[in-house]
Amino acid sequence: MRKILTGNYAVAEAVKLADVEFIAAYPITPQTTIVERLAEMVERGELNAEFVRVESEHSALAAVYGASAGGLRAFTATSSHGLLYMYEMCWWVANSRLPVVMAVVTRTIGPPWNIHTEHTDILTLRDTGWIIAMSENAQEALDLTLLGFKIAEQVNLPFAIGLDGFQVSHTAEVVDVPESLDGFLPKRERFFVIEPGNPITVGGLTENECSMTIRKEMAKDMERVGELVRNSGYVRDYDLVEEYRMEDAEYVVISMGAWCGDMKDAIDILREKGVQIGMLRLRFVRPFPKEFVEKLDCKVLVVDRNYSVGLGGIIATEVKSIANCDVHGIVAGLGGVDVGVDDFVSMFRKFVRGELKGWWP
């Protein structure tokens, strides 16, 4: 059924459809309206979940860790400073192979205080072992959240779904909400069971080799994610990337998130003027869609809404480590600085002419 929903409400609808059993979260702008809506759903009896209010994000993910280890389908959501505050628990969840799903509403990390979008926060998860997806709009925020539970529970890795603060989280747009899931999400199968009368310890001190084994096993399961996304059986088809007007492209733009919609409009404008340009939109950052980047045979521009001080844009750095062609990186839109269709038209034009520098503007 088509509805007008903000990205945050779309995520809440997905959590409800997934019959999540446990939610713990701490409010932070621009994430707050996700758990606000979920709390309403629990209050009204539409969602039969335990909703635990906690005193910090560290506690939120710790509570979710316990619930997930105990066998429940568990969800949390956060942004920016909240994500950083729960950072230690992010590693516990991943290495303990718990299929937790978390919405990360991307927001700039301060100081100065800034509530607007930037992707540096969600990219701090990139070494943890979380599957990381990034949505372009409210529809994808809903779809990827549902896909998140399915994939996470298939590979026993946690799943983070990113949505741009305000641009997706608070923008109301048309979303097709599935009436039901028709068995898309079967009951969760558990890697281990914690229950009274049969005590176990997870993650205690053990041989050093165990730490290596754990990461190797995680890598192996992470590699299965692409195939599972392509064959998820969801009502809409998904892949690790979206290829837009790539068929005969001499120039390819790589980016992720809400502004990719603006980039597509800019690409259409340039295509009309005869510029052979297309886009490879990263729907997933982990696993990194290596196979799609490897086969590129053209000039590549990576537009990063994040920055690693001392090296450069994070996605550009990763693309350069894989690509077999020329890659130019540009950093734009940090701190939520608005970059729209007109900006992208002139940015891409400069790129084609070879006049583009490393920062926009």
Binding site: N95, S96, F192, I200, T201, G204, T206, T213, I214
Partner: protein, 83 residues
């Protein structure tokens, strides 16, 4: 991830009784069965019955907490080679 999951089991670290320098010796005639030694033993090697306590010397590391906590001095720590 099996290497990360531990189940409680007896003597996972081997026969820790070998570590002992001092051995707890039980004097049943002084004991009033208060069970404080059983409660405080960090290695869970003390069993209590109506007849008194028994100590599992295969795993007792000889820390002496039982002797310290005993108000009746019913447990005495003695050098291993003297027993």
């Amino acid at each position: 991830m099996e290497c990360m999951i531990a189940k409680p089991s007896k003597g996972a670290a081997g026969k820790t009784g070998l570590w002992r320098t001092f051995k707890p010796i039980y004097h049943p005639e002084r004991c009033n069965l208060c069970q404080l030694c059983w409660l405080y033993c960090p290695e869970n090697v003390i069993d209590v019955s109506e007849d008194g306590i028994t100590i599992d010397y295969e795993y007792c590391k000889g820390c002496g907490i039982c002797a310290k906590i005993c108000v009746k001095n019913a447990i005495e720590m003695v050098r291993e080679e003297e027993t």
